[in-house]
Every structure is written in C-alpha cells, then in structure tokens.
Symmetry: C2
C-alpha cells in the first residue's frame, strides 16, 4: 500500500515549529497573530507548489484544493488548526494540517487517481487563546446546523466582540479584518460543496501510549459542561483587619474546591474528568484580603446523565453563605456528546487494519472543530499517541513514526471515501 | 486651643480626589504617574502660596519648608504619601499629606510662633503598586540605619530595576528619571537636619470605630513575615487526562491552604493576622490542568516569637509531596516590630487629651514609611478611624470631623515638639 513520506513530514514539522518558537521546545502561535500569518503563508506557498488552488473565507479559514478527475463530485476535506495556546506544543492542531498537506503531496507525487477534489484546510482560532472561546470559528460557521442550546453560544456579534485577553482592547473582529488571509463568504466550508471531513489530531491523553497502539479510531467527542464558581467577599487591609471580621473570598473558594472534589469523587464514575484550570482573584494584592474569587470547572463525560449529576453538585453551592462570603454558580457553556459518521469511522478502522497499524476505538475528551463540522456534514477524526499523554505544553510530543502512520491512515481513509462513500 | 480649619481640609480632600479619580468613589494614583504629578503640583502650588519653600530630593520625595524663627534648630517633618493602590481610597496616605499641609496653613494663618522649620513632606512610592515592594523609597533612604536583615531587602540596584507590573517594561529608575519632581540628593530627609518625624494616617482597621475613639495614639508597627508557598504539578489537557494521572497544582494548593489555616488557627493567638491575598496560577487556562500555583502569605504580630511559630508551620510544608505535586516555601521578606519614640508618642497622647478627643493607644498592623524613618530619627504616628475598617478600596472613608481632629492633634503634637523636645 502507498505510504506518505516520512522525510516530508519531518520537514513540515520542523518548519512550522519555527513560527512562534518559544525557545523552550514549544510554540506560542495565537490565532490572527504575525506567527499565524507566517504559518499560513508557508501553507499557501507549499500547497500552490503542487498545483493546489488556495482560497480563504471570511473567517480566514484557508482551503488548499487539489482538483479531482470529476468536477461534478463534492469535495473531501481534511482540516485542523495552526493556532496554539500560550507555550503550547508542536503537534496539537498543526499535525492535522501537516497530515492534510502530506496527503495532498502524496497524491500528487504518486499520481494517485481521485474523483473528488481533495482539500487541506486550516480553521481559524480553534484554541481561542487570545479570543475566547475555543472552537469559536467552527461554532459560528456551523451555527445553523447546531442544536439550539449549543448554537446560542456562537452568536456572531458576541464572538466578534471577544477581546484580546492580553490587552483587553483589540476585538476578534478587528484582528480578523486586519488579517492578511481574510477572504470571501462564498469560500466557506458547506454541505453542498463538501462530501465529508476528516481531522487528524494527537490524542492529548495517555490511552494509546498505555495500550501500545499507533492509531486511535475516534468514535465521538465527549459531552461537557463548563461552570464558574464565584465567591464574593470583602476587600480589606491585610495588616489591620482582625481575623474574625474577615470575608476572605479566596480562602472560602479553596474550602469549596476541596469539598467539591470530595463530592464529585464520591460518585466514583469511570472516565469522568473535571478540571479547575482557571482562577481569577481580585484585587490579587498581597496586602489586601481578596474580595472576589472565581474559578472555572470543566467537566467531560460521554453520558449526559453523568454530566447532569455533576452539575447538580456544582449548583448545590449556589447561594451558599460561608464565612461571611456569598457563593454563586453560573453555567458558561455546554455541549452534547457528538458521535462521528459510522461509515467514515469504518474507513479509518479498515485503513489502519490494512496498513497493519495497531489501533483501537477511542473517544475524544478534548473539543475539536470536527465536532461542530459533524453537525453539518459527515465527519470523523483520527488520533496519534501523545508521549506521556502531555499536551498544551512545551513537552507535547508525538514520534515521527506515529506522525507518519497518522498521515498514511488519513490518506487511505480519504481514498476509501473517494471510492466508496 | 487653636484648631485647624475644617473647610480648608475638606477643600484639599476634594481636590486631591480628582487626581486619579476612578469614577467609582476612589482613586488609582500610581507613584510617578501623571496623576501623581498632578497631586504633587497642587501640593507645591498651595504650599508656595503660604510662603513655604518646596524642594525635592533624588527619589522625588517633596518637602514644603515653613521657616522657623531660629535657623539653628533642626526641622520637624510631617510626612506621608500620595500614591495609591489600584482602586484605592481618598484617605490612605493622602490624608497624612493633607494634615501636614493643613498644619502649615494653620501656623501661617494663625501666625503661631515656632522656633524650628516645620516641613510637610510627600514620600514617593509608598504603596509599591506599580513598582514593588511597598515602602520602597523610605527603605532605600533609611537603609544605613536599618538592621541588616531588613536593609538587605532595599538594595538600590534591585529597587531601581523593579519593573512596572502592568507593562513589565519600564523600571522604577526609568520612571523616576522622567518624573517632573526628581531633585537633588542633598535635599533628602536626614538626621542631621531633621529633629523628628510625624505621620498622620487612617487606621485601615476597625478598632477605633468599634471602641468609639477619635484618635489612635500609635505605639508601634507590628512585625511581619511574608512567604510564598509554591506548588509544582504538571500541565495537561483537561479533557483527555484521566483523574488518576493528574498532578494538579491548584487543587493541591487549595488543600494546603485549608490545612495551613486550620493549623495556624489552632495556635489561638490573639491579634495575629495573616492573609493569602495574592495567587499566581500557570498556565491559568480552563482547558489545562495547572502546572504551577503560588500563593503569598503575609503574617503580622507584635511578638517575634509568634511570627516564628507561624513561620515554622509554613515551613513544615516545604518539600512535601502531595497528589504528585511538590510543595516549596520561600521567605520573601520580614521586618521586626518597630516601636515609636516614647516622647513623641506622649506629645500625641497629651495633645489629644488636652483637645478633649477620645483616644487610645494602638498598634499599626500596616507598614508605613514612618517605621523605616524611626530607625533614623525620632518618629511617631497618629491614626484616625476608618469607617467599617475598610481600606485599599473605593469604600475607604474617614469622616471630615475625624480628619479635622487628626490634623488638629498633629498640629499640637508638632507645637509641643517645637517647644519641649
């Protein structure tokens, strides 16, 4: 069976890792930044050099289109993102772009016949690092296909006014309007012109590595809820306020956090993950008792009944008065478990099997643009192992061999789709 | 007995509150900012209008000197600061400056005879809001009189390179060099030219209000220690990392914080105050398990043995391994309890008594420039009540009547010093 070229893949990994190099093994490449522009330019140049046509839509999503033999057929797209978190790794997102480019380069080099146009695509602002939320652009683009409870999170006016978290000045829309690769509405991914979408990605967890498998055949993206837990206390001077008069928002939040973890852990639910990754304390000065403390909790599980049970625990703190402070909870967003297209999942599975790559079915705990695309057109994902399960950090790593197997599995899944979907 | 002018005091409070008005009842007036310059210019203009000579030293401390009848005598100085914290109040620091100005204006207006020069002084960067640490400039200016363990914190090279916390670019030295009121070394406060120093200030705590007293006769500034508690975990993706593989620095810190408070509270020590006001979490993103969490603890008490006992509890966490994380503790700074000059304390007490103002002895929990000055020359402080004990916030408030009593007590304590010290 035809395989992708491991040297070409290595070359692309190395080149992309220079765009936003954080000099510590990883990258910081925010969406719509100068570094993002450099990565896009490289993508465009390299794709045009094999004869692909490169177009961009009004969200600055980019599409490199390699013409198929029959222009009446719809396109098959392989999409991922090239933006990163602060001090992220060289694989999350960008490896999916590299695999898509590699599939096009292999098809071209090996002169593989295909009826459908095959497209490598870059989504804008998947991470939402500067302009929250994550998977913002696919949320807007796919909005009319999404369930109402999810769609309502992706109002374009609201997303466009998302402010740069570093300066709190520039909005997403302002950055987009200034970006070199903002294009036209008519180029957007849509179900009339596109047949199917694949997203190749790193697992970002330890499951494949632990089981010794090369390929994860993804069946779904787990449902999730995200809440804020807010504690309101009272600011006062650290040196002059007796302990008994204090309303310390951060201390109260710490107590709640410990109790919250105890209560959720008591449910003893397998495969449940939940995280308090982001905290905001005001005024956050060492000589002032905190008046305000807010923490986010991100909860993920395949079963919405489980999510509901955890949400009930979170909400049991709402309205609580503790140590002079008032506790509030607020739902930020939620999404249902998204199942991928069974035929495409099967193409991935049979490709990996035929290639002799050890593989397994797996669920995605992380959110991806593919989950929103899947409401619009048949979609699926393929995972490669992450060393030590690490991701969103400098140490994020997937071996070149695993990258090569990921690209090659993608190639054959796309070719099966071209032939039999 | 002669009293200060309540209308003049009100006028000064209102005018200073326009320099950095945060439109929410308070002010943000960072040291060496445009707003600081406006406040200094008003001070200079108003003091020159009563015939005072205004000079500045190389740290931009300002001195308004009203000549006494005998130029052979040393000067008596009343000093405080006009910088604030973010969204601070209209009394912390600036009220001491207003009282000092008011004393000069009263002496001039009432033609009160005095042998010594009487000086109203503004210290630069007391809060250390933009350029940490707090009471930086008095630390540098008084350095050679300080005990070695405190002096070592105020190395000029280190202080000068303190970076603006908002931009992380401009250093204190750069801001100082550009400031309109940077003057000459020879003008610095010093024990050869100065006889004694007073600092009038708001209490920033609830003790005077609770006891119904008008004036706090301050006897000391409490000793304190400041430590960082650091937890090192491992960053990983929130959606893909099973709970059992996690090394969550923020959750571990929360557990330690609750346990730390339990252990310190078990000591059951009266008048001990300790605060966790400032936290730093990395990467602080809702989809990433925190790899790093650091919190400061600020501990204050009159007895250094008590401070040692609390420090021992803090340090008992050093090196602890908990839930896959490593805990470290680090001493940031400490200071001894500073007792004020008993003769000056007595002048304040007898002035308040003779004026018929209800008063009590009190300790200062907050740090002030007066504590460092007290190592260099006889020094003391006078407190006015703070409404609800609030400070370092928009709601900070001291009634005009209490401001007037504070200024009048200061006036008579200075006159007693002029006569009898």
């Amino acid at each position: 069976m035809i395989k992708c070229d491991i040297n070409r893949i290595e070359d692309k990994i190395k080149t992309f890792s220079t765009f936003g190099d954080d000099k510590n093994g990883g990258i910081t490449r925010y969406a719509l930044s100068k570094e993002d522009e450099l990565a896009r330019t490289y993508f465009k140049t390299r794709m045009e050099s094999i004869g692909a046509e490169v177009v961009f839509d009004d969200y600055a999503n980019m599409y490199a289109i390699l013409k198929g033999s029959d222009s009446l057929h719809k396109k098959i797209v392989m999409a991922s993102h090239c933006d990163s978190v602060l001090n992220g790794g060289n694989y999350d997102g960008i490896l999916g772009v590299i695999c898509a480019m590699e599939v096009l380069e292999t098809i071209k080099k090996e002169n593989i016949p295909h009826k459908h146009d095959v497209v490598a695509m870059i989504w804008t602002n998947e991470e939402g690092s500067l302009y929250p939320p994550a998977i913002m652009v696919s949320g807007m683009l796919c909005k009319k296909y999404l369930p109402e409870n999810i769609a309502s999170n992706y109002d374009e006016d609201k997303m466009f006014s998302s402010k740069d978290i570093l300066t709190n000045k520039t909005t997403f829309k302002e950055a987009l309007d200034k970006f070199k690769y903002k294009g036209e509405y008519k180029n957007r991914l849509n179900p009339h012109d596109y047949l199917a979408m694949f997203e190749a990605h790193i697992e970002q967890g330890p499951i494949l590595e632990t089981s010794g498998n090369d390929i994860g055949v993804v069946r779904c993206v787990l449902g999730m809820v995200n809440y804020s837990i807010i504690v309101e206390g009272q600011a006062n001077h650290a040196g002059t306020t007796p302990m008994k008069y204090r309303k310390d928002a951060l201390l109260t939040l710490s107590k709640i956090l410990v109790e919250l973890h105890n209560k959720i852990d008591e449910l003893k639910i397998d495969d449940l993950v939940y995280t308090n990754g982001q905290i905001c304390v005001k005024p956050n000065v060492h000589t002032v008792i905190p008046s305000y403390a807010e923490i986010m909790i991100d909860v993920r599980h395949i079963d919405h009944v489980v999510l509901k049970r955890v949400a009930d625990i979170i909400n049991s703190f709402d309205g609580l008065k503790l140590d002079g402070c008032l506790v509030k909870t607020k739902l930020n967003w939620s999404r249902d478990t998204t199942y991928f297209d069974p035929r495409l999942v099967n193409f991935v599975k049979s490709s990996a099997d035929e290639l002799g790559y050890k593989n397994q079915f797996i669920n995605s705990g992380a959110g991806h643009d593919a989950q929103f695309a899947s409401y619009m057109l048949p979609t699926t994902m393929i995972f490669a192992p992450s060393k030590n399960g690490r991701s969103h950090c400098d140490e994020e790593y997937t071996s070149l061999d695993h990258c090569h197997k990921l690209a090659t599995t993608l190639l054959h899944a796309v070719l099966k789709t071209d032939k039999d979907f």
